[in-house]
């Protein structure tokens, strides 16, 4: 961890040479930090707001060192009030700033829900295009960390449901680094979901000048021919492990990392499903009216004659997020995904 500061500096060359040849190994947490750092260096209008993001660097240390390097004027420790954070970020954006807001945990975004849905999402529309709100709302989400209530939720569907917002999530360090910069550069508000249980997993990043993918591209993580697994955020890794396990049983599973929940990369999804004829959607969120519902509807509508089996959803049960002693069975895991793959292939 002590060398990471150097890595961050290299991640954000201030007009320096990109280091195409030397991929860096970095955790998702550090990659998010490096992405924000680089965006802040590139644009003085980028400001960070949130609770405990200054000296502490956030409860997950995602903003570690940024206040020290960019000053209290650009990394603001706010009062503890999420609507206040969101509403003042709207005002800053109206004044020409690009606020990056940290919501401390998924379950703490609800006090800001009104500002996000009524103001952030609708300001551009309401103003007939005169006003823009180039904001990023960062939300660490998902379970699997043994936390108390309100710290493990996957509430992405609320925001993906809301027109005017873009909703993305990173599953790898490389995506964390690049998608953060792309989200900050977006002139539309972006809700950026961070898979908190994967924060400390490492991945390789090519610190070039160009992002490998667009912000709203889905990416095929594992090629396969028998069934398509659609996953995002913390479930991508689980899905990839499931694909490996299936392979040992002679089943070829294609894993697609959706990356963007609004908009969806429809062509990439359909291309895969048309090839495999089968789709299983995996997410931590409760399935009822979740992303899986939308994906199932999309696939049956657009790829009906290619389907060999109904689209199957694997997700959280439709109960409140349970006490953490249950989360091992509440959250989709390898076995539940493989079970769904089996059921799909049984048709």
């Amino acid at each position: 961890m002590t060398t990471s500061a150097g890595a961050q500096t290299q991640a954000a060359p201030a007009g320096g040479q990109p280091q195409e040849q030397a991929p860096q190994k970095m955790t998702i947490a550090k990659a998010l930090n490096a992405g924000m750092r680089r965006a802040m260096e590139a644009d003085p209008k980028v400001v960070l707001l949130g609770e405990d993001i200054g000296k502490l660097g956030g409860v997950f240390r995602i903003t570690e060192g940024l206040q020290k390097d960019f000053g209290e004027d650009r990394v603001l420790d706010t009062p503890l009030a999420e609507s206040g954070i969101m509403g003042t970020a709207v005002g800053l954006a109206l004044r020409g700033y690009r606020p990056v807001v940290e919501i401390q945990f998924d379950g703490f975004v609800y006090p800001a829900f009104d500002q996000i849905v009524s103001q952030v999402a609708k300001m551009h529309y309401r103003s007939l295009g005169h006003l823009k709100l180039p904001m990023v709302i960062r939300i660490p989400y998902g379970g699997g960390i043994g936390a108390v209530e309100h710290h493990s939720e996957s509430n992405e569907a609320y925001f993906a449901h809301t027109a005017g917002l873009r909703v993305v999530t990173a599953a790898t360090a490389e995506d964390a680094y690049w998608m953060m910069q792309q989200a900050i550069a977006s002139d539309d508000p972006v809700v950026f979901y961070e898979p908190k249980r994967r924060y400390h997993e490492r991945g390789e990043i090519l610190l070039g000048e160009r992002a490998p993918y667009g912000l709203h591209d889905a990416v095929v993580r594992t090629q396969g021919t028998d069934v398509t697994l659609l996953a995002y955020g913390p479930m991508v890794k689980t899905a990839m492990i499931a694909a490996q396990a299936a392979e040992t049983e002679g089943r070829s599973v294609e894993v697609i990392d959706l990356r963007s929940l609004s908009p969806l990369d429809v062509p990439t999804i359909l291309q895969s499903v048309e090839k495999t004829g089968r789709a299983v959607v995996v997410h931590e969120a409760q399935t009822y009216l979740g992303m899986g519902s939308e994906l199932a509807a999309l696939i049956q509508q657009e790829a009906f004659y290619h389907l060999e089996a109904p689209v199957i959803r694997v997700g959280g049960y439709n109960i409140p997020y349970p006490p953490s002693r249950h989360e091992e069975v509440f959250l989709p895991d390898l076995d539940r995904i493989l079970d769904a793959v089996d059921r799909s292939l049984a048709y």
Partner: protein, 395 residues
């Protein structure tokens, strides 16, 4: 807002004319006033003296122009009301009775100062130079906000009560970051105003805005028009401690001003804006006034308030008192007042015509400006919609 109960406010005549139990027209000893209900200049007191300097430039011409604004704003409002009754607008929130509170505040602002209104701030919009016609679009249903906020530094109307208090606070924090506070240059130093009503003071966003602005010492003036009614709920359903007194608990100076006195509203707002621009932080102003009409054209105030209360406030009318003052000072005669009324008639005619001629937008336009950059779902549905519409045309 879509209640079908409609009672014209101007003809409402409830049975009871019993006087209210207490005199809610009395703003108490802390209220800053310069012009009383009879149009007399109030002597200098301990309460109003700190603000007297902010009226030093108010000469006869200025008084006449304030009067003109009050009359024109009232006429804009009356026209909005009439257009709703004639079916041209779906809704109109009247500012009747609050003209002085709004014109005083609006005229105190400099061009670079930014205003964040609720949805009743037609008078502030007028002072900031927004064409009243542009206010009508959202109430006619042709748009959600028909003006470019940055042209006149007057933000779009905010309908969700209290949201805009935080926007103003954040905007003011941006002004601080821009280095446009306390430079000493009156043409550069910038302040922000946030408008809400007595009902708004109960909202979380309102209270969070006071906390955030106090902590950041941002250059924002919160202007609460206490018109005594949040739809059907009186002050005693909104707070125990009045807004101007609560400000102190947030670490913000609070002042109550006679909102029916345009001079006091002007002076107190000027003082607060000066503080803000000078880097001394936010101020909360409670403009003590009264909503003479209904909450909106969909409201029926005869169900919850008595006519005697309205009668009392009629005697405190903001325009009558300035007119009396102008007459007493020899600043206005029948001819001059008549000319202002004629100008108001012309304005009303222009607004009416423009409203009636405001076209329905083509339906394809509803897909525009959802996002700045292309969003495939919106594009797809827009195209599907266009094809669906076209399928009828071909028949």
């Amino acid at each position: 807002m879509s209640d079908d109960v409609v009672a014209p406010v101007d003809t409402a005549a409830p049975a009871t004319h019993e006087p209210p139990a207490r005199d809610i027209t009395d703003g108490g000893p802390d209220m800053v006033q310069f012009l009383d209900a009879e149009g007399h200049r109030v002597p200098v007191t301990e309460v109003n003296s700190p603000y007297a300097q902010y009226l030093e430039d108010v000469d006869g011409e200025m008084l006449r122009s304030l009067y003109r604004d009050l009359v024109l704003v009232r006429r804009v409002d009356a026209e909005g009301h009439a257009l709703q009754r004639q079916g041209e607008l779906g809704l109109w929130p009247s500012l009747l009775g609050q003209e002085a509170a709004q014109v005083g505040a609006g005229r105190a602002m400099r061009p670079q100062d930014y205003a964040f209104p609720g949805y009743r701030e037609h008078g502030v919009a007028w002072c900031k130079g927004v064409d009243p016609v542009n206010l009508l679009g959202m109430f006619r249903g042709v748009n959600h906000g028909g003006w470019d906020s940055n042209e006149n530094n007057f933000h779009l109307y905010t309908i969700v009560i209290g949201n805009q208090m935080l926007h103003a606070t954040g905007y003011a924090m941006g002004v601080q970051k821009d280095g446009l506070v306390g430079t000493g240059d009156p043409d550069r130093d910038t302040a922000v105003m946030a408008f809400t009503g007595d009902g708004g003071t109960a909202q979380g966003d309102y209270n969070e805005a006071l906390v955030f602005s106090a902590v950041a010492q941002s250059p924002v003036v919160f202007y609460v028009q206490n018109n005594h009614w949040a739809i059907s709920e009186p002050n005693d359903r909104q707070f125990i401690i009045p807004p101007y007194q609560r400000a102190r608990g947030f670490g913000i100076p609070g002042v109550r001003v006679d909102g029916n006195d345009v001079l006091a509203s002007l002076a107190v707002t000027r003082a607060a804006l000066d503080r803000a621009r000078g880097g001394q932080g936010p101020t909360l102003i409670e403009a003590f006034t009264y909503r003479m009409g209904a909450h909106t054209t969909s409201d029926d105030p005869t169900k919850y308030r008595i006519a005697a209360e309205v009668d009392l406030w009629k005697k405190k009318d903001p325009i009558d008192r300035l007119r009396k003052h102008l007459v007493a000072e020899g600043l206005g005669d029948d001819e001059w007042f008549g000319a202002i009324d004629a100008e108001a008639d012309d304005l009303a005619q222009r607004i009416r015509t423009a409203c009636q001629q405001m076209p329905n937008p083509p339906h394809e336009e509803m897909f525009e400006n959802v996002y700045v950059d292309e969003h495939p779902l919106v594009t797809r549905e827009r195209d599907e919609f266009a094809a669906y519409q076209a399928s009828f045309e071909e028949d």
